[in-house]
């Protein structure tokens, strides 16, 4: 077990290192070749093709140095937890992340938890009622939900919530530590909406896994022993059907955290998504590299956690 964990940790470190090279190469080499760099964007939009000012900016932003040296500097800083500074406002990226990452993580976690609370019972219900109308209804509902983008639902809720109830989402964001009630008021709806679309897929996954498990011999044995349906389903079937669900959930969480930009815009939340999107539009490469790198680390760690969680969920699994 210890060897397995060590191997996985080393592999995770190697993956993160490779990610750092890919991120750096894409943003500092590939993007400038095809699209230009941050200064090209500034020069084109605001500087009236002013070569002197563009060159000065390039110097100021550290875009004219040796690439290998730049990478080593950047990677070294990353390793020390220093993600650098924004090109345009000079604010430390670590500080921005400190303020913003909790918002995105909270959105993702609440979204996922609410999605699980919604999808697991419905998936079980659909499996138990296989090929009867509750199953048909739940499957249709899941497909419908899966095909509706969450941000579109958000717009509908805001629009009709306002039209019918004169309601509008709260405007003043407060951190959890400052005002928990105000914080939850502004966070709850977007978090629930974020979890809605992935939960539709989970309903179908839980149903499929449950159906597979319900056909196993040990389930028949459990029934033969005289256990109640409820006990068989919850104790024996559900737990064993959750392993692939945990995999999907583990991999969905970082995607949810990284994909909150639209919801952050609609609900005026200061999360990572808006930070990343605004930096992409201005090619603020230290911010892009820093945030993409952090998201990559989160995804790698989530994968690691999923792998390790198997041993807890299924004691038969040994490494």
């Amino acid at each position: 077990m210890a060897r397995y964990v060590t191997q996985r940790l080393l592999l995770a470190a190697l993956t993160i290192w490779l990610v750092s090279i890919i991120v750096f190469t894409l943003l500092r080499v590939v993007v400038p070749i095809f699209y230009g760099d941050a200064v090209d964007v500034i020069a084109a939009e605001y500087s009236h093709s002013d070569p002197a000012r563009a060159e000065a900016l390039r110097e100021e932003y550290g875009l004219s140095g040796n690439l290998v040296v730049s990478y080593l500097e950047w990677a070294g800083n990353m390793a020390r937890g220093n993600l650098g500074e924004s090109l345009f406002n000079g604010r430390p990226i670590t500080k921005e992340m400190h303020d913003r990452l909790p918002v995105s993580v909270e959105l993702g976690v609440i979204g996922l938890l609410s999605g699980l609370l919604f999808s697991v019972p419905l998936g079980v219900a659909a499996a138990v009622a296989q090929d009867r109308w509750p199953d048909y209804f739940l499957r249709t509902f899941a497909i419908l939900l899966n095909s509706l983008p969450g941000f579109w639902l958000a717009i509908l809720i805001i629009t009709f919530g306002n039209k019918w109830f004169n309601w509008a989402p709260p405007l003043n964001f407060a951190y959890l530590t400052e005002d928990p009630v105000a914080h939850l008021k502004i966070m709850l709806l977007p978090a629930l909406l974020i979890g809605l679309t992935p939960s539709a897929g989970l309903v179908r996954l839980v149903r499929t896994q449950m159906l597979e498990v319900l056909r196993q011999d040990y389930i028949r044995t459990a029934h033969a022993k005289g256990l109640s349906d409820r006990t068989v389903i919850i104790r024996h079937a559900l737990r064993n059907s959750l392993i692939p669900v945990v995999t999907v959930v583990g991999l969905t969480l970082p995607t949810l955290i990284a994909g909150t930009a639209i919801f952050e815009s609609i609900f005026t939340l200061p999360g990572m998504g808006r930070y990343l999107v605004s930096s992409v539009s201005s090619l603020d490469y230290p911010v892009i590299m820093g945030t993409v790198f952090v998201f990559s680390v989160i995804i790698v760690l989530a994968n690691l956690a999923v792998d390790l969680s198997y041993t807890v969920l299924d004691p038969r699994i040994r490494y």
């Binding site: 717009i155 629009t159 509008a168 939340l269 808006r274 605004s278």
Partner: protein
């Protein structure tokens, strides 16, 4: 009714375009909010009333811009909103104009525009930080600073007087770092820039020297995108990218990145006693539907509703104030690639393109005029010449006899256009490329506007276009907008709205202009006569003579048709809740540049507050 077929086709297109637009999140919701009004071309529920009756009704509900300054009660925080965050807070060194928007609240300028009291402003200039000025010779401007201006009571300034050294510091910073520097500053790589230097002769006096008599200098000094006056301590004494030190009417009391701006009255501002409100709160709401919901819930006091939405909002909330906006001074363009083999080097081809445009239909489609007309809303329709029809006193109406020979090129005449094309060597029409961006930089309606223009030019096979949608930052701006004609075919795009017409003319129509699209690479196809006319007007200090020179240039450009101006515009309407005292009473010349004159006069009328 001869136009019915054509008209109906356009309305169908309009519906199709609305459907396209509904694909975007924000606008999708608009359609839903406005669904009560339907999409009827007659403007929805007629209620059995005649147009005349409706006109009378609308007259009675139009905001009369009542000046309530005498009843104004100090206090209250204005609940506004903004759609975008800023790149940083340094207006003289930021790569983005967004910093100038914040700066317009906190940093003063030497002059300011005079607002119109209940009537549109005229662009006249009045004292601001400079309390007076004189021009001893045509190329020298001496400005005296007011002695009672001080910086914010915050370290390291601590109410230090604002002096001439601050102005010179700001000018040097502007000349070195501002992205707008080429509009004003004479530099080795910008020899046509008008201002040579800015020097302090004593603590309260600055002298601007220009290389030629530059008529719009005072106006340029009032523009918030140019010379905002910053303290010299911003160079090392504090971080101007992330902090501000106010010398203007408001302080930036709280800025939460991505979340909100909170401005508060600056008690040390020399005219602080004239500011009614305690401050302004601007949460950042980028989504239109979310903003509209906040407005309808009365959490936002004024909202820039799209013209499609105005009628329905007023019906839903009859208490809303409804104000008719003045004509705007924006004139976007269809412009041409001028490479050596370009057919658009021939003026007849450009004239033909101009004659393909059905301006009335286009204005109706995008100005919502049919619905406004059906509802009895008053509006005027104007065609743009090569300057916007919002330039009162300078604009020549293409439909009037004043436009002379050029007038015919602003009237749709497909048959004549095809004759011109035929004479230019394209009897079977001209096949080429057309470019516009489809991302949101010019607003969500722009791609639809461009598509309709393309459709009009293609009518009857006059032009056949292959559409190219370039990436905004990396392709459109670099290769097309700033390409100086070095692209193939036709392009449609926005232009900057300057507060002085000279800046627009020089930037876009002079062969050496920073955004020019009329002379290939600034060297070939130089229209010397046009260049001379533009140069002459900027040097003319007599306002009337200068206005005539600008009119003469429009008539000349109307014939040469170096670009095809956007079709035109109709009046638009704004909405606000009635507890904003003095709303729309003081009319800005340039909204961003006039905070000190408009935002200081608004007040919170608690007696009308129902939020």
């Amino acid at each position: 009714m001869e136009r019915d077929n054509y008209w109906n086709r356009r309305i169908s297109r309009r519906r199709a375009l609305a459907g396209l637009t509904a694909g975007t999140a924000g606008v999708a919701a608009l359609g839903l909010v406005g669904c009560g009004g339907g999409d009827d071309d007659d403007g929805g529920d007629s209620g059995g009333k005649t147009i005349e009756q409706k006109q009378e009704e609308v007259k009675s509900i139009l905001w009369q811009r009542t000046d309530t300054t005498a009843q104004a009660v100090p206090g209250g925080i204005y609940a506004g909103y903004t759609t975008a965050d800023v790149t940083n807070l340094d207006p003289l060194a930021s790569p983005s104009f967004t910093a100038n928007v914040v700066g317009s609240y906190v940093y003063p300028r030497l002059t300011k525009y005079k607002t119109g009291l209940r009537v549109p402003a005229k662009g006249e200039v009045e004292p601001y930080l400079a309390e007076k000025w004189e021009q001893p010779e045509p190329t020298k401007l001496i400005l005296k600073l007011r002695p009672n201006a001080v910086w914010e009571d915050k370290a390291p300034l601590n109410k230090r007087p604002i002096d001439a050294d601050d102005v010179v510091f700001s000018w040097k910073k502007f000349a070195a770092l501002s992205t707008s520097r080429k509009d004003l500053v004479m530099l080795p790589d910008n020899p046509t820039g008008p201002v040579i230097s800015c020097e302090a002769t004593d603590k309260n006096t600055v002298v601007f020297t220009t290389q030629f008599p530059y008529a719009p200098l005072l106006s340029a000094l009032a523009y918030s995108r140019y010379l905002q006056i910053m303290p010299r301590e911003s160079d090392g004494g504090y971080d101007p990218k992330n902090e501000t030190r106010s010398g203007g009417p408001f302080t930036l009391a709280n800025y939460q990145r991505s979340v909100k701006f909170e401005y508060r009255k600056n008690p040390n501002y020399w005219a602080a006693k004239d500011i009614f409100l305690d401050g302004y709160d601007y949460p950042i709401i980028p989504e239109y539907a979310a903003g509209l919901a906040q407005f309808r819930a009365k959490k936002v006091w004024q909202f820039a509703a799209t013209q499609d939405d105005v009628i329905q909002q007023k019906k839903d909330f009859p208490d809303l104030l409804l104000d008719q906006n003045a004509m705007n001074r924006t004139d976007w363009m269809t412009y041409f690639g001028l490479q050596p083999d370009s057919p658009f080097r021939d003026p007849r081809v450009r004239q033909a393109a101009a004659m393909m445009i059905d301006r009335d239909t286009w204005i109706d489609t995008f100005g919502n005029t049919s619905k406004y007309k059906a509802e009895g809303y008053p509006f005027e329709v104007r065609y743009h010449s090569h300057i916007s029809s919002g330039w009162e006193g300078l604009w020549v109406d293409p439909k009037s006899s004043e436009m002379g020979e050029a007038s015919k090129y602003f009237a749709q005449n497909v048959a004549e256009a095809k004759k011109l094309l035929s004479a230019a060597g394209f009897p079977n029409g001209l096949e080429t490329e057309i470019r516009w961006i489809t991302t949101g930089q010019y607003g969500t309606t722009f791609p639809n506007q461009a598509e309709v223009l393309k459709g009009m030019m293609e009518e009857g096979g006059a032009f056949k276009f292959k559409v190219v949608n370039p990436d905004y930052a990396t392709d459109y701006l670099t290769n097309v907008y700033f390409g100086k004609g070095n692209f193939k075919g036709v392009a449609i795009g926005a232009t900057t709205q300057f507060p002085e017409v000279d800046q627009f003319l020089f930037a876009y129509f002079h062969s050496q202009g920073s955004r020019q699209k009329v002379a290939f690479q600034g060297k070939e196809l130089v229209d010397t006569k046009s260049d001379q006319m533009i140069e002459a007007q900027r040097k003319e200090l007599d306002a009337n003579k200068r206005a005539q020179m600008i009119k003469d240039w429009q008539k000349y450009a109307g014939v040469q048709m170096p670009m095809v101006p956007y079709p035109g515009q109709a009046n638009t309407f704004s909405l606000a809740w009635p507890w904003i005292g003095n709303w729309a009473v003081n009319r800005a010349w340039d909204t961003e540049s006039d905070r000190q004159s408009v935002e200081t006069r608004l007040w919170f009328d608690k007696s009308k507050f129902t939020g």
